[in-house]
């Protein structure tokens, strides 16, 4: 599956949908037994017949720990709001076997430095979202509120990306771009 482009939207939608379906199924089951449409259990039988088996605390502990940890994991996933970066790895095609890896952060810091060279770019967040051989890039540009947006996008496309292409030795780096305006500046009054 393709990498998530808007984390954790896909995860949230999937898990919310599953939770909703589980609740609806449980409700339909209980209601079906209650009105006698589902003759699994007699309608006048108690919901809990007989005592709990002796092993219930063990089962409950295991089940509850699994559910609780899943909830915690889901909760923590809410803090990851950008696509994850990837490592750049190329294997040598010479006589000696080997490979070169560049951690994602290295590439990302270099592109970020290139981008912030532009006067209108206050900051940038960069992720190399796919590694070799077909890299893709995700960029969030924080523009100054007064900056010319077009100029900043051209700076990315005509200066930073060619340098990245050259560094990685690839013909193209498809890029997804999110424009933001980060730090606010006091506006100068104009008539």
């Amino acid at each position: 599956m393709a990498r998530a482009t808007n984390p954790p939207a896909r995860l949230n939608r999937a898990l919310l949908g599953v939770s909703g379906l589980v609740l609806l199924a449980a409700a339909a089951l209980a209601a079906g037994i209650a009105i006698g449409r589902l003759p699994l259990v007699a309608g006048d039988a108690p919901v809990l017949g007989g005592a709990l088996p002796s092993w219930w605390p063990w089962a409950a502990t295991v089940g509850a720990v699994v559910v609780g940890l899943a909830g915690l994991r889901w909760l923590l996933a809410q803090t990851h709001r950008r696509p994850v970066g990837d490592t750049w790895t190329v294997t040598a095609d010479g006589p000696l076997p080997g490979s070169t890896s560049v951690a994602g952060g290295v590439t990302e810091a270099a592109v970020r430095a290139d981008l912030t060279d532009h006067a209108g770019v206050a900051d940038a967040r960069v992720r190399l979202t796919d590694g070799a051989p077909r890299p893709t890039l995700y960029v969030e540009l924080d523009l100054d509120t007064e900056a010319d947006a077009r100029g900043a996008v051209e700076h990315l496309s005509l200066y930073a990306l060619p340098r990245l292409r050259q560094a990685l030795g690839v013909p193209a780096v498809p890029t997804r771009l999110l424009l933001r305006s980060g730090r606010a500046r006091t506006p100068d009054r104009v008539a």
Binding site: N12, G17, A28, A34, A60, A64, R150, L179, V190
Partner: protein, 181 residues
């Protein structure tokens, strides 16, 4: 690049409920294993369930509540949600930008600054939706017509430079703080 709501709020709520329920049940079960009084009154719950038959109204009420909650969660999962990012137009001169967009809130902050920069504007708010930008400004001036034109011109000039795939309609409102006499 269009980007829609991540549904963080319903997801966080359900995750918190799962975490709390798991912690409560696990704690109670371990307390039973250790022979202590459990946090959750397990005996009371089992007794109540043993006394309730499937035909009892309480079962139907519980089923109804669960169904309603399940429906809400399903709608939260399936509803497309509000657009958070307005897409940029694809520029043939910049083929490597395969998708681009402006974040709605940041665009609103930028347009608000454009409105504030107009002489005579005392305060401004801007709201950006997928198809509509609404700028509301406040002024001390009594006559608002010329000011509204000036704000619209300033904001429109900036909107034109942003390269949005679909330029939202602009609506400017100017309210005067000076009392009409």
């Amino acid at each position: 690049m269009t980007r829609r709501s991540r549904r963080t709020l319903p997801a966080t709520l359900v995750a918190l409920v799962l975490l709390a329920a798991g912690a409560l049940v696990a704690t109670s079960a371990v307390q039973v294993l250790l022979g202590r009084t459990p946090l959750l009154a397990v005996d009371a719950v089992t007794e109540a369930l043993a006394r309730t038959t499937w035909q009892a109204p309480a079962v139907l009420v519980a089923a109804g509540v669960a169904a309603a909650l399940g429906l809400v969660l399903l709608v939260a999962a399936l509803w497309p949600g509000r657009t958070h990012v307005l897409p940029l137009v694809a520029d043939p001169a910049l083929p490597e930008i395969v998708a681009g967009g402006w974040h709605r809130h940041d665009l609103a902050a930028r347009l608000r600054r454009r409105a504030l920069a107009v002489e005579g504007v005392e305060g401004a708010t801007a709201r950006v939706r997928r198809r509509r930008v609404r700028v509301t400004t406040r002024t001390h001036r009594a006559a608002t017509g010329a000011l509204r034109e000036a704000v619209a011109t300033a904001v429109r000039a900036d909107l034109d430079t942003l390269g949005l795939a679909r330029r939202p309609r602009l609506r400017v409102t100017v309210t005067s703080r000076r009392k009409e006499r």
